[in-house]
Symmetry: C2
Subunit: 246 residues, 2 copies
DNA sequence: CTAGCCTATTTGTATGAGTAAAGAACCCGC
DNA sequence: GCGGGTTCTTTACTCATACAAATAGGCTAG
């Protein structure tokens, strides 16, 4: 028997709907801003000019700008035009923004910052998850672990399972705002692995760590879960550090 | 001598630009969704019908929907229409979403969740801040403390200063994604105070706690800062709990 | 009963005209 | 000269309309 309920809204972390024109324009501009091609304070060309330049209608262009504006990347006012906002206004935890940030390789400090966040959030989340997890949560984690083991982290499916494992833990913590952080965490998780592989092969098999963590959560032992997760993230950070600073 | 640099982009947490029509439509619909007037899975009326009903052009309405879509509240596809997304897709850490959530009084569980997040994030942030704070950071915190002391938490200015104090700490932690959480934290901070007052007056003067925390950060003692912040948030949570459960 | 086409419905895109807001330049009285 | 109000001009914002694309669900042939 398959347990499909609850998975129905799981999709790849593809940036929203880049199929539509407004979506792809937003993605392109957003990625350009994240990559630094437009700096905070810069004024974009006027609507008519820029939309013509991009070969799209003003309607589509404006909708793209609304998207960026909703994520805090730009602000537009009559007479002044549309300008890139200060970094402090950017919604760095927005899933799309993260995806755009990782489109062109992000700065090392950004990756470090994400790991710092993981180090803060995930151990606490693991502790909460150990206290609150349901049978369904456990099933999901178990399934993700299995998939990880089967495919290995060299495959796309394996990395997805890794993400799913960490996401399941955050969801088991039963905290809405915390779940909203899962996309950020997931981004960091994926890039850990990618970096590790880029720097030739796995320095270490991550499966044992994950299994111990899983057992702690199944056993309902918050402090064990916290400690194990701390170790897990610390090791991942260490691996990433060596990959970053060769 | 005043230190104005760096404050130039500080504004009230008013939901973006509700002056423009697309902005106010987005605010209204967003607040309605957050308040539960539209439930996840519900399909909104068609563009033409709904925009006429709201007495705005289809263009403005569509731009509003793009904003909501960018924040994960809705998803729209041809033929199917626009429907409210699953809660797990909502970007609960988005500043606008938080503002909308607090427009109609939010659920108790949501407030508890925010406090849980504070409890996780702020002590760690305080520790980092103690290690990394600059002179400017200290000046800001000091200024905010002064204002808090002068106006007291019964005034709008005093509450703003309280928020500013906590925001300054997060900024001193020198971590972009963490700073993006400041709006969430700030929301929780404000509502603590409002709840406490609703439940007759201050149960306790919060200034001493804040001063001790400030000293720890000035002294550059991470563990002291972490401990003090933990106490501070725990007390705030306790106060809020008693206000929630009368 | 199934695979594949059809079509009706809904959002998406394009275009053009007119409105409102917000700096900047200007004018005027002092 | 100089401050304060006024006009001016640029820009985004709003509106209306037409057409294109996508797709869910029915229809039809096999």
């Amino acid at each position: 028997m398959r347990q499909d309920r609850g998975y129905e809204d799981v999709r790849l972390p593809l940036a929203s709907d880049s199929r539509r024109i407004h979506g792809s324009v937003a993605r392109d501009l957003g990625a350009a801003i994240l990559a630094g091609r437009y700096a905070p304070g810069d004024v974009l060309p006027g609507e008519i000019e820029f939309s013509e330049q991009l070969k799209v209608s003003r309607t589509a262009y404006r909708e793209a700008i609304r998207i960026l504006s909703a994520k805090g990347l730009v602000e537009s006012r009559p007479r002044t035009g549309t300008r890139v906002s200060q970094r402090s206004r950017w919604n760095l935890l927005d899933p799309d923004i993260l995806a755009w940030a990782f489109e062109s390789e992000p700065s090392e400090t950004f990756i470090r910052d994400l790991f710092e966040l993981r180090m803060i959030v995930e151990p606490a989340a693991a502790a909460l998850a150990a206290a609150r997890r349901s049978g369904l949560d456990i099933a999901r984690m178990g399934h993700a672990l299995e998939e990880m083991g089967r495919h290995g982290l060299t495959t796309e499916a394996g990395r997805a399972a890794d993400q799913a494992f960490h996401t399941a833990i955050l969801e088991a913590a039963r905290n809405g705002p915390l779940i909203a952080l899962s996309s950020s965490i997931a981004a960091a998780v994926t890039w850990t692995t990618i970096f590790k592989h880029r720097r030739q092969g796995l320095p270490r098999d991550p499966m044992p760590d994950h299994r111990v963590l899983y057992e702690a959560i199944v056993a309902g032992d918050p402090e064990a879960a916290r400690g194990t997760m701390t170790d897990l993230v610390r090791l991942a950070l260490a691996d990433t550090e060596t990959a970053l600073r060769p």
